[in-house]
């Protein structure tokens, strides 16, 4: 947290509570308990990301950090509630053994539960298309908040996902394939979206999301193809990427603040003027890029599915900037931690430590293959930049602009064809119902006016006619009178 940020006490309290909630999530084998910590974490995340009070853009962008993940949280709640309704327990210890034995279980119910649970976790993992709460706030939230939130949720989410995989496995193959495909699509789309646009923190968030998606995919794939063997590699990958993405965010924030711009096209010469930060960005980017290699080598040894984020290895051209003292601090430590986890993810002992199962070593060929993929990505990126940096940045800016335009069109469409009509119906109902009951009130009053008016008609003839007519009519229609 920067010195100029307001509300230090508030910030640190929220961070501490978030870490408490995350610890709770990691230690919860009871789904209701997990849900409790999950919701606390969600609320604190929103408070952290909207920490900058009194500024329009952070507040506007933080909206999505409450609304979108809450939608996925509700899915998690629904999934857990769905399972409880059918199994009568929410403890994983007692639930997992009876997934296929409890009276009345159906594959369909497990499919529904799996999808809901996956969506619930995916929202907080910020997998595409749930990534916008992380990307939108990456620039406007306090950098430390953004870094902590992204890091913490990556770890907590992947661990929870890993714990839930037996439920996914119990559903059916098509569901597993669909979840895997969702992870794959999320990874590719997030990575590609990361290339488009010149906002570095958004790119880091998307790159991190892509790697987490890969990790999630490996977790699911591991459970699908090699039960309880390689899934943990996905967790290891995310453990590596979490500190790295936090470090990258902090370092880039330092650079962006120094250069007073968030546009890569306006930056430059960072390597010369802000070497520590640039180095940290490069180190973290490298860790992010390589984080998934071990996982992929372990878990998806022969299938090439995913391209990794290519947008990190950019250079900067600052003119009037200087390196702050803090630049050599946390980003480097986080990069080192990430690197250590990356290396560890290639060591079977670490994986065995994580899940308590003995793992075979991955083949060197597979490791080389999956290390090569990001390296090729880096190389391609570097080559492109060396050849025509401005052109590349221009192309990325155009891509970003088109993306922004496409996104805004999409949201405009959603707003026009879904949000506006439904809220309009609600608004109209909100007006019609009072108008309706107001009309009823007026009707009652009009009826009353009639009764009042009756008092002004010539009373005597009316009374006589009414009395006689009513007497005759009711007498004649009374049962048993006219036979």
């Amino acid at each position: 947290m920067g010195r100029s940020e307001p509300g230090a006490a508030r910030f640190h309290a929220a961070v501490t509570a978030l870490l408490f909630a995350a610890s709770g999530m990691l230690m919860s084998w009871d789904l209701a308990e997990l849900l409790g910590f999950w919701f606390i974490g969600g609320a604190l995340t929103y408070l952290l990301l909207s920490h900058r009070w009194g500024v329009a853009e952070p507040a506007a962008r933080a909206r999505v950090a409450l609304a979108l993940p809450f939608l996925s949280d509700v899915c998690l709640l629904s999934g857990i509630a769905w399972l409880y309704a059918r199994y009568g327990t929410q403890s994983l210890d007692s639930l997992l053994p009876i997934l296929h034995t409890n009276p009345g279980w159906t594959t369909r119910s497990l499919v529904v539960a799996s999808v809901l649970l996956f969506v619930g976790v995916a929202g907080r993992l910020a997998l595409w298309p749930f990534s916008s709460w992380a990307t939108q706030t990456a620039v406007t939230a306090p950098p430390a908040a953004s870094a902590i939130v992204q890091g913490v949720w990556s770890v907590a989410g992947i661990v929870v996902l890993y714990r839930l995989t037996p439920i996914f496995v119990a559903s059916n193959q098509r569901t597993m394939q669909a979840l895997l495909a969702a992870c794959g699509v999320a990874a590719v789309v997030a990575a590609v979206l990361g290339i488009l646009g010149n906002e570095p923190r958004r790119a880091i968030a998307l790159a991190g999301s892509a790697v987490v998606a890969i990790g999630a995919g490996v977790v699911i794939d591991g459970a699908y193809h090699h039960p309880a063997t390689f899934g943990i590699a996905g967790v290891a990958a995310v453990l590596a990427v979490a500190p790295a993405r936090a470090g990258a965010l902090l370092a880039i924030t330092t650079i962006a603040n120094a250069m007073r711009t968030d546009d890569l096209a306006d930056m430059g010469d960072a390597w010369r003027r802000m070497r520590a930060s640039s180095g940290a960005v490069l180190a973290c980017a490298l860790v992010i890029g390589l984080a998934a290699s071990g996982a992929l080598a372990d878990g998806v040894s022969s299938r090439s599915k995913i391209g990794i984020a290519l947008g990190e290895g950019r250079a900067f051209d600052p003119d009037r900037v200087r390196e702050p003292q803090e630049a050599r601090g946390w980003p480097y430590w986080l990069a080192v931690a990430g690197a250590a986890f990356v290396v560890a993810s290639l060591i079977t002992g670490w994986l065995s430590f994580l899940d308590g199962t003995k793992h075979p070593a991955p083949s060197l060929t597979a490791v080389a293959l999956w290390v090569a993929v990001p390296l090729i990505g880096f190389a391609a990126c570097a080559a492109t930049y060396l050849r025509n940096k401005d052109g590349a940045l221009g192309a990325s800016a155009v891509g970003g602009a088109w993306l922004a335009r496409g996104t805004s069109l999409l949201f405009a469409g959603v707003d026009r064809f879904l949000v506006a009509p439904t809220t309009d119906i609600a608004r109209r109902l909100g007006d019609w119902i009072p108008a309706g009951d107001g009309a009823l009130g007026r009707f009652a009053t009009t009826t009353g006016q009639l009764a009042l008016g009756a008092a002004r008609v010539p009373a005597l003839p009316l009374v006589i006619v009414l009395a006689i007519a009513l007497a005759v009519v009711f007498a004649l229609v009374a049962p048993g009178v006219v036979r």
């Binding site: 308990e33 900058r52 500024v55 506007a60 909206r63 409450l66 609304a67 509630a81 309704a85 009072p434």
Partner: protein, 536 residues
């Protein structure tokens, strides 16, 4: 025992009484809760108060009366036997034997929860009303009368008595709205009278149909609910009760009063209306349908679930669209009612337990959000969200309380609404999956609406064109804080804090323990979900 199961009420266990239990006993404990405020209200009405000379004294009397009733309630709470499935503190006096009316009062766990809510709301409403300057005497007399009638409706065990107190709350509240409300107070009051009158009429029809079907000899609930009644009559009675409840809670589409009343009323009235007075609707459903007509409950549960889903979804969408913050608060205050009804629609022990806790938490959350919106708009001197902006740094007390209200509405843990929400959903997904999904989706829409409100009003940039703002006064902070604190207290200590190292309650037997009494009886016709033994 897992955390969730600590909330399940199906198997209540005796807990040692809290220190102080047995300190005071009275055969008229419930009558005291009803008639003390009523008598004080009548006395207040006749205190000479020329030119507002005794305004402060009147406020003090009202406050200490409420505090006193809360103390009386706490005695009842401490001495409540949480393992008894029957009514407690019963008072039964023959009243109109010619038509079978008895002055019969009694409470079980759910009743205790409602009384606690009413007691807290009473104190909070007086605190919220400390800023009242005009016609102070009449205001507090009416407020106390409203509270007395609500307490009476909660404690009634005779349909006639219930009807009496149910209807009696309308006039004082309508007068409070008319006399001390905002610019649209007149139409708000008429709507209140119209809708609540309709509800009272429906309750009367239901109660009288039940009375006639049970032989026309007694209005006592003990007799009416045990009578053998044909399914057709059960259905008719239940539909009437649903209409009565829907006008109170409120549920879509009988919510027409809520927007205007909650938006135009002064904060003290908002607290009374949004808490116990409106929760009476769900309490009625619990008593007369879920607890009494199992066949009709099963038959009508999809209808209840549909009403719950429509209410939550509509409230979210309407709050999203409106630019009047008080209207938004009023719409959002409908959400907890929808959740409570979903739990009842589940007709499962867990769902019912969730709903009972939801009576308490939902009332507090609804009052908190509606009250926060009213107080915020008062302090910001505008209701338009087009003008409101960036208030958090300038009114931090209200901002935090508003945020807590939003989180309570969404059911964030530590706040008690989480427990009720989880229990409700856990109970509902078995029997009403579609309704539960729809309510969950509606809740997500509410989250969007809250996100927009919080973002724009509290955390956004200040609007230089907006009128000047000031933070909440002491009374306003206290009333909102009391509501939030109650949610926190029960959220943190649902089973009550214990003396370390012992099972002896510190000074609170725990709301969860207390509300368990009676729920097992209510939910006995419904099947518990039981886990199968693990496969070997």
């Amino acid at each position: 025992m897992t955390p969730l199961l600590t909330f399940t009420m199906a198997t209540p266990t005796p807990a040692p009484p809290a220190p102080g239990a047995g300190l005071f006993t009275s055969p008229f404990l419930l009558s005291l809760l009803i008639w003390v405020p009523a008598i004080v209200a009548v006395a207040l009405a006749f205190i000479p108060n020329h030119r507002g000379r005794y305004d402060v004294l009147i406020k003090q009397i009202a406050f200490f009366t409420n505090l006193g009733t809360l103390f009386i309630f706490f005695i009842a709470y401490s001495q409540f036997e949480n393992f008894l499935p029957t009514m407690q503190y019963e008072e039964k006096v023959s009243w109109l034997p010619a038509i079978g009316v008895t002055y019969h009062l009694g409470i079980d766990g759910p009743g205790l929860v409602m009384l606690l809510l009413s007691g807290i709301a009473g104190v909070a409403s007086v605190l919220a009303s400390l800023g009242v300057r005009e016609r102070v005497r009449a205001y507090f007399a009416l407020l106390l009368l409203a509270q007395a009638s609500v307490n009476g409706a909660i404690a009634s065990r005779d349909m006639f008595v219930l009807l009496l107190f149910w209807g009696a709350s309308i006039v004082p509240i309508a007068l409070l709205v008319i006399g001390w409300g905002g610019p649209r107070r007149i139409s708000a009051a008429w709507r209140l009278v119209g809708y609540w009158g309709l509800g009272t009429g429906a309750l009367a029809v239901g109660a009288l149909a039940l009375y006639a079907a049970a032989g026309g000899t007694s209005f006592d609930m003990d007799t009416l609910f045990k009578a053998t009644i044909s399914p057709r009559v059960q259905l008719g009675v239940s539909v009437a009760m649903i209409i009565a409840a829907a006008t109170r809670l409120p549920l879509f589409p009988l919510h027409g009063w809520a927007r205007d009343v909650l938006a135009e009323s002064p904060p003290g009235v908002v607290v009374v209306v949004a808490t116990a007075a409106s929760r009476l609707g769900a309490f009625l459903l619990l008593r007369t349908i879920i607890g009494a007509e199992p066949a009709a409950a099963h038959l009508l549960s999809p209808l209840l679930a549909a009403l719950a889903a429509l209410t939550v979804g509509y409230a979210g969408l309407a709050a999203l669209r409106t630019i009047d913050i008080r209207h938004a608060g009023a719409y959002l205050a409908m959400v907890p009612g929808g959740l409570t009804v979903l739990g009842l629609a589940a007709v499962s022990p867990l769902g019912i337990a969730g709903s009972v806790l939801g009576l308490f938490t939902g009332g507090l959350a609804a009052a908190l959000i509606a009250g926060a919106c009213v107080t915020l708009s008062d302090r910001a001197q505008t209701r338009s969200m087009a003008l409101l902006g960036g208030l958090a740094p300038r009114m931090p007390n209200v901002a935090w309380l508003f945020t807590i209200a939003a989180l309570a509405l969404l059911g964030v843990p530590i706040l008690a609404s989480f427990a009720s929400e989880v229990m409700t959903f856990f109970g509902a997904f078995k029997t009403q999956p579609i309704g539960a999904f729809a309510v969950a989706a509606g809740l997500a829409v509410c989250a969007v609406a809250l996100a927009v409100m919080l973002g724009r009003v509290l955390f956004g940039a200040p609007n230089p064109d907006a009128p000047g703002v000031s933070d909440a006064s002491l009374g306003e902070s206290w009333y909102l804080g009391l509501l939030a604190g109650a949610l926190l207290w029960v959220g943190l200590f649902p089973g009550g804090p214990k003396i370390p190292g012992t099972e002896v309650p510190l000074f609170d037997p725990g709301l969860i323990n207390q509300m368990s009494a009676g729920i097992s009886d209510i939910s006995s016709p419904y099947v518990l979900p039981t886990p199968a033994p693990a496969a070997q």
